[in-house]
């Protein structure tokens, strides 16, 4: 089957159509058009699945990619060629990503039709969700940074709208504003980096950037004193930081949980936040060229650990998940930074699946009991068995328990980080990356199981809360007494169960650790590792462009034999293969130990209650954690309210009070003085002396003439006649 | 001057015979012819005026389902003679405080103004006293003497009713002269000349060639003229200067006898003149509906008959209107003139001019039936 507009465009367009129809006619449709949105995503999923099948099941050579362009607009005039091309770029990574995004999105849509039922914002939710999905799919399909940026921003807009969807809440407004503005900080840098690249190499298509790197076009180019590659790479990474909520631009993501839970699941857990990582992966050669990998790794490590610590003390189930998302995104960034390209991407996929599932499960809990504070929950295992099952699978995955997907991907990242920090012989300070990484992994296992135990195990604490005797309590809270036993429902439980199936490691890697160390699933399942690798920039030099409609030069190829040994960046065969291998072995075992340790401590604390809860152990530190290291206060209270607004007020006052009043209106005062001077001159010199003096002279003459000027008109007639007659007589005509 | 009665008659052989009779003295002959013609026309018009009073009474009676005068002569036809005799024999009373000179002068002026207009009235293409170059203009100008007479009559009587009637009459006549004049000007524009000969020569043939059907503006102009003419002749519903119910009888309240008769006669003749002018300007005058290319005296009389028919039909309409419509108030009178008739007349004038430019002088009939 050919790749034409007809079978690629529906991926992106069918949700757009759903968006348009829902936006304009959603209110008139039955169920406010949620079925339409879901259906449209399913169409996308079908088409994505075909592409996935083509790419993954060996229709193409492993390094095959499709790149087709069309001209969006053309500013050429005469010999001056300048146009903007748009297009699609599908390689293995994009194909996997497409399937993941459309699949997860479809399941979340399906779930939402249940979750958002009877919600006042039901219709509005299903306007933005398909738009978001289409933007995400478009982003994945993009062949260049420019269109990526466009979809990037549209996603930001959808995120903004969905966070602020409950517009009666003041906090929703704050959260949406915060989310948009924080990501916007990254976005403008992304734009800047994109512009910088565009102006140097004349294009921002991935293939052109790769080719330019290979041809050395970046060499010698500098921007405000630093090399172009560093500048552009840094700017682009800053964009990714904003979107992927990396330290220090992470503050928006916890607040973003103001939105409906399925929206959070899709946008703020599975896809959009991963877009930053996806971007970093796409621009990986540039990051390497700009020597930014260590920076990415450090940022990732700080984020991964910091967020994990904050998650320790959160009591809101969604907040825990939000911080765990930040933390996991940090792991992905570590993966990018330490050169674990494949693993980072795998973690992106696995995280998307289990985190989406976690959020949906949390949503299921919240929707069932109308409570999301963990200390008020407990013992829900009996009432929500399917939810419990799904959530347990995902928790196992995220905690890094063997046989689950999280272990497979995260373990490989940590292994590479270990090599990166200790063995690769770089700056010894970079050892902080694996240290924080492993510490974070342990904390992850701990807080995730803390969440599980508090929510699903122990006694049901709902009754305690209500026994305080508030008989006029809001109707929603009465569910605590009689939570109905959960029945298997196609819309609420099936998505969870489907997702939980894919938390197993077997789907992603043949070996337990994903590194071929403990082979349990068979070599054929190492497809992921074979297909995804850092782009080899040399391949893209002189790559011919294909227009839409041209036929594809496809080559059917067998999967090459899997390489099980290592993954370490793009830069050719590494002489330290052996060291890397041993680092991976150490890493694997360390992470297993740490994960189980974390689970065990959680078990002791919250099931056995033999250890006092964390908060009582470090009260001061807990306070800091509860305030999220005071970043919000720093940003909002200090930088924005004191600094930015103060500056604004000052400038505004300056503009109207000083500049306008004195520099502009001041001329009126100057003029007034001039008026007075000229008035004086006019009155005294010109008028009194020059003019009135003449008048006085005339006045004297007047005394004589007054006699003649009798005012009697007949007298004038007579004078006239006499003068005329005398004229005629004297002139003698 | 294009043509006079004398110059018209001089083309016939009997003129030479007459000239011989008068001893080759053309001046004397012309004087005689004019004198006779003038007497004839004045006599005719006086009769028409007199019959006008009869007609008015008879028609009003008809409209009110009465009999009207029916004692004197057959169908009361001689009633006007009886009235005339009565007026002449009545005492000529003059108010003590009246301004005698003006009191005498006023009815004279009225008669002078009206009779002077008869000089240019186109009875037929040949039987015109004088076809002046400025015929229509002359007619308008000289008939304004009537306004002066009305005013003077009102003033000289030294009576409140008369005074008010005179004031009203003068202002009314002056005001309505404007739309009437402008409407006539539109016709002048269409015909390209002010003499009645020129105007009538443009309307020869079938009724579609009449100026009233020349273009829509001329059509409107006819009605503006008709309304204005009613007001100028102090006819109902514009009979404010002589409103019986308000001012007793207006400017001729104090007049008696033949002086009153003069005013009455002048009014009725003026109505006839106005109708005749309307017929000549808009309705083709005495033109025969066919063109024989010969000019004989009987044909002229046929034209006179046609002209008279049209004029008298209009005369009937004037009387009909009088007994149909109620009288206006003074302010309504003035606002009709200045706010409606005058702007409409001006627009008509401009419209006619534009029509002439746009359609190259062709009438609607030319456009519809093709130019001939």
């Amino acid at each position: 089957m050919e790749y034409t507009v007809g079978n690629i465009a529906p991926i992106f367009l069918s949700p757009v159509i759903a968006f348009v129809i829902n936006a304009f006619f959603g209110r008139k449709l039955p169920r406010q058009g949620d079925w339409l949105a879901t259906l449209s995503i399913f169409i996308s999923f079908i088409f994505s699945a075909r592409i996935f099948g083509d790419f993954v099941f060996g229709t193409f050579a492993t390094d095959f990619f499709i790149h087709k362009t069309f001209t969006w607009f053309d500013l050429s005039h005469g010999a001056n060629i300048w146009k903007v091309d748009m297009g699609i770029y599908i390689d293995n990574m994009a194909a996997i990503m497409l399937l993941m995004v459309s699949g997860v999105a479809f399941l979340i849509h399906l779930f939402s039709t249940w979750y958002m039922d009877h919600d006042e914002k039901h219709g509005r939710f299903f306007v933005f969700l398909p738009l978001f999905t289409s933007a995400m799919l478009g982003l994945v399909l993009s062949d260049n940074l420019f269109s990526l940026f466009i979809f990037w921003e549209i996603m930001g807009f959808c995120s903004y709208s969905l966070i602020g969807i409950y517009n009666k809440k003041e906090a929703a407004g704050d959260a949406s504003l915060k989310a948009f503005m924080t990501t916007r900080v990254g976005d403008v840098f992304l734009l800047l980096g994109m512009v910088a690249i565009w102006m140097v190499i004349g294009s921002v298509a991935y293939v052109d950037i790769y080719a330019a790197i290979a041809e050395g076009k970046f060499a010698g180019q500098t921007v405000i004193g630093i090399s172009l590659a560093t500048f552009a790479g840094l700017c682009i990474f800053l964009g990714g930081m904003g979107k992927s909520a990396q330290f220090p631009l992470h503050v928006w993501l916890p607040d973003a949980m103001m939105g409906p839970t399925p929206g959070s699941a899709l946008i703020h857990a599975a896809t959009m936040v991963a877009a930053g990582v996806y971007l970093s992966l796409r621009m990986y050669p540039l990051m390497v060229l700009g020597d930014l990998t260590w920076f990415i790794a450090v940022i990732g490590a700080i984020t991964a650990f910091g967020a994990a610590t904050i998650a320790l003390v959160q009591t809101d189930i969604k907040a825990v998940l939000a911080f765990s998302t930040i933390s996991q995104l940090g792991y992905m960034m570590i993966g990018v930074g330490v050169g674990s390209y494949n693993a980072a991407f795998m973690h992106l996929i696995t995280h998307a699946i289990f985190k989406a599932c976690l959020f949906l499960s949390a949503g299921s809990v919240i929707h069932s009991v109308h409570e999301q504070e963990m200390p008020k929950l407990g013992g829900l295992r009996k009432y929500l068995p399917y939810t419990h099952f799904a959530m347990m699978c995902c928790t196992l995955a995220i905690a890094g328990i063997p046989f689950f997907s999280g272990f497979v991907s995260k373990d490989r990242i940590l292994g590479d980080a270990l090599y990166f920090g200790f063995i690769a012989g770089q700056n010894p300070l970079l050892a902080i990356v694996p240290i924080l990484g492993f510490a974070g992994a342990g904390l992850t296992a701990f807080y995730m199981f803390r969440m599980m135990f508090l929510t699903f195990y122990g006694e049901n604490r709902m009754g305690h809360h209500d026994s305080h005797g508030d008989e006029h309590a809001h109707g929603d809270h009465h569910h605590g007494h009689d939570i109905h036993h959960e029945h298997l429902d196609a819309r609420s439980n099936v998505p969870l169960l489907i997702l939980s199936v894919f938390t197993l490691g077997v789907w992603f890697a043949g070996s337990l650790t994903g590194q071929g160390i403990v082979k349990v699933f068979g070599e054929k399942t190492e497809w992921f590792k074979i297909l995804v690798e850092a782009p080899k920039v040399e391949r893209f030099v002189k790559h011919p462009r294909e227009a839409f409609g041209s036929t594809d030069s496809r080559v059917k190829a067998e999967l090459p034999k899997a390489k099980y040994d290592h993954q370490s960046g793009y830069a050719g065969p590494n002489p330290d293969d052996h060291k890397i291998h041993s680092a991976h072995v150490v890493g694997a075992w360390m992470s297993i130990v740490i994960a189980f340790l974390g689970v065990f401590i959680a078990f002791l604390m919250y099931i056995k209650k033999s250890i006092k809860p964390l908060a009582s152990m470090f009260p001061g530190y807990t306070e800091t954690l509860k305030n999220k290291y005071y970043f919000d206060n720093l940003y909002v209270d200090v930088i924005i309210k004191k600094g930015l607004l103060g500056l604004n007020r000052f400038l505004s006052w300056f503009d109207m009070g000083i500049f306008d009043r004195f520099a502009v209106d001041g001329w009126a005062a100057v003029n007034r003085v001039l008026f007075k001077a000229s008035k004086w001159f006019d009155n005294v010199v010109v008028d009194a002396i020059g003019v009135d003096g003449t008048g006085v002279a005339v006045n004297l003459f007047n005394l004589v003439l007054r006699i003649v000027q009798s005012g009697k008109i007949q007298f004038y007639f007579i004078m006239l006649i006499v003068v005329l007659a005398s004229y005629i007589w004297t002139v003698n005509i | 001057m294009n043509q006079t009665l004398v110059s018209y008659l001089s083309q016939y052989e009997f003129y030479d015979v007459l000239l011989a009779v008068f001893g080759k003295n053309e001046g004397l002959l012309a004087f005689t012819i004019y004198l006779l013609a003038a007497l004839a026309i004045v006599g005719l018009c006086a009769t028409i005026g007199g019959l006008g009073t009869y007609a008015e009474r008879k028609i009003s009676a008809d409209l009110q389902q009465r009999m009207g005068p029916n004692r004197v002569g057959p169908y009361g036809l001689l009633q006007f003679l009886a009235d005339g005799v009565k007026m002449m024999t009545k005492e000529d009373i003059m108010p003590f405080t009246a301004d005698k000179f003006l009191f005498y002068l006023a009815p004279m002026l009225a008669l002078i103004g009206v009779f002077a207009t008869l000089a240019v009235l186109p009875w037929s293409s040949g039987f015109m006293m004088a076809d002046l170059n400025v015929g229509v203009f002359y007619l308008i100008a000289i008939s304004s003497l009537v306004g002066v007479s009305v005013f003077l009559g009102g003033y000289a009587s030294n009576s409140k009713w008369s005074m008010l009637g005179g004031m009203r009459g003068a202002s009314q006549i002056i005001s309505y002269e404007i739309p009437v004049t402008i409407s006539i000007l539109a016709i002048t524009l269409l015909s390209g000349g002010m003499s009645f000969g020129t105007i009538l020569s443009h309307q020869q043939g079938t009724p579609v060639n009449w100026f009233i059907f020349h273009n829509p503006f001329a059509f409107v102009a006819f009605f503006v003229y008709a309304i204005g003419a009613l007001a100028e002749t102090n006819r109902a519903p514009f009979d404010l200067p002589e409103a019986e119910s308000e001012l007793v009888s207006g400017y001729h309240t104090e007049y008696t006898g033949m002086r009153f008769g003069f005013f009455a006669l002048a009014e009725y003749i003026e109505v006839f003149v106005v109708c005749g002018v309307g017929a000549a300007l808009f309705l083709g005058g005495g033109n025969l509906p066919f063109n024989l290319d010969i000019d004989i005296i009987p044909l002229q009389f046929a034209q006179v008959v046609i002209f008279m028919t049209k004029a008298l039909l209009l005369y009937y309409v004037v009387i009909w209107v009088r007994w149909t419509l109620p009288r206006l108030r003074v302010d309504q009178l003035m606002s009709i003139c200045w706010k409606y008739l005058t702007p409409i007349a001006i627009v008509n004038l401009m419209g006619c001019a534009i029509w002439l430019v746009v359609f190259n002088g062709k009438s609607m009939a030319d456009l519809i039936f093709g130019s001939h």
Binding site: A725, W729 | A30, D99, F101, N133, V134, A141, S171
Partner: protein
């Protein structure tokens, strides 16, 4: 013959009425005599072959100016008004007295003498011409003159008339007290 007759009658009417205007003490009668005089002048125009001017003369003066004057006389008190300040001014009543007439006649004499001198010269310069009874139409030519050679004056006079119309209306309109 007609023309001579007309000339004689018109001249008589003109001069006679003009003198009557000057002589009569009644302003109303003055106006009527002025009307006669103006009609006479129209007749004189006719004898000069100026048919259009003659008719215009009648149209404007008879139809407009004289009636306007009559109105003005009426609105300002008619024939029997007396100057309120007659005694104070002492010199003349509104319609003049023998002193004012004397001065007027004196000045008229001056003008007469002056003009006689001028007319003597003219009568020498332009000997009498005799015309037949042909009076060609002047309307067309006047029309052409008005919109070709004299178009500026023509337009200006229309502006003047408009100004007079508006001005007269504004000046004479009744005003509210205070």
């Amino acid at each position: 013959m007609f023309v001579q007759l007309l000339f004689a009658l018109s001249a008589l009417l003109t001069v006679g009425c003009a003198i009557a205007v000057a002589v009569t003490k009644n302003i109303m009668h003055s106006c009527i005599f002025l009307l006669g005089s103006l009609l006479g002048i129209a007749g004189l125009y006719a004898t000069l072959g100026a048919d259009f001017v003659a008719v215009t003369q009648i149209m404007v003066y008879v139809g407009g100016v004289v009636i306007l004057m009559l109105f003005a006389v009426m609105l300002t008190g008619g024939k029997d008004f007396v100057s309120r300040a007659q005694n104070l001014l002492g010199l003349a009543p509104a319609m003049g007295n023998k002193w004012t007439y004397a001065i007027g006649l004196l000045v008229g004499l001056v003008v007469l003498l002056t003009n006689v001198k001028l007319i003597m010269n003219i009568s020498k310069a332009y000997p009498a011409k005799v015309f037949g009874n042909d009076f060609p139409s002047t309307v067309n030519q006047i029309g052409h003159l008005l919109i070709k050679e004299h178009v500026l004056a023509f337009e200006l006079s229309s502006v003047l008339l408009l100004g007079a119309l508006v001005g007269a209306a504004i000046i004479a309109r009744p005003r509210k007290q205070g």
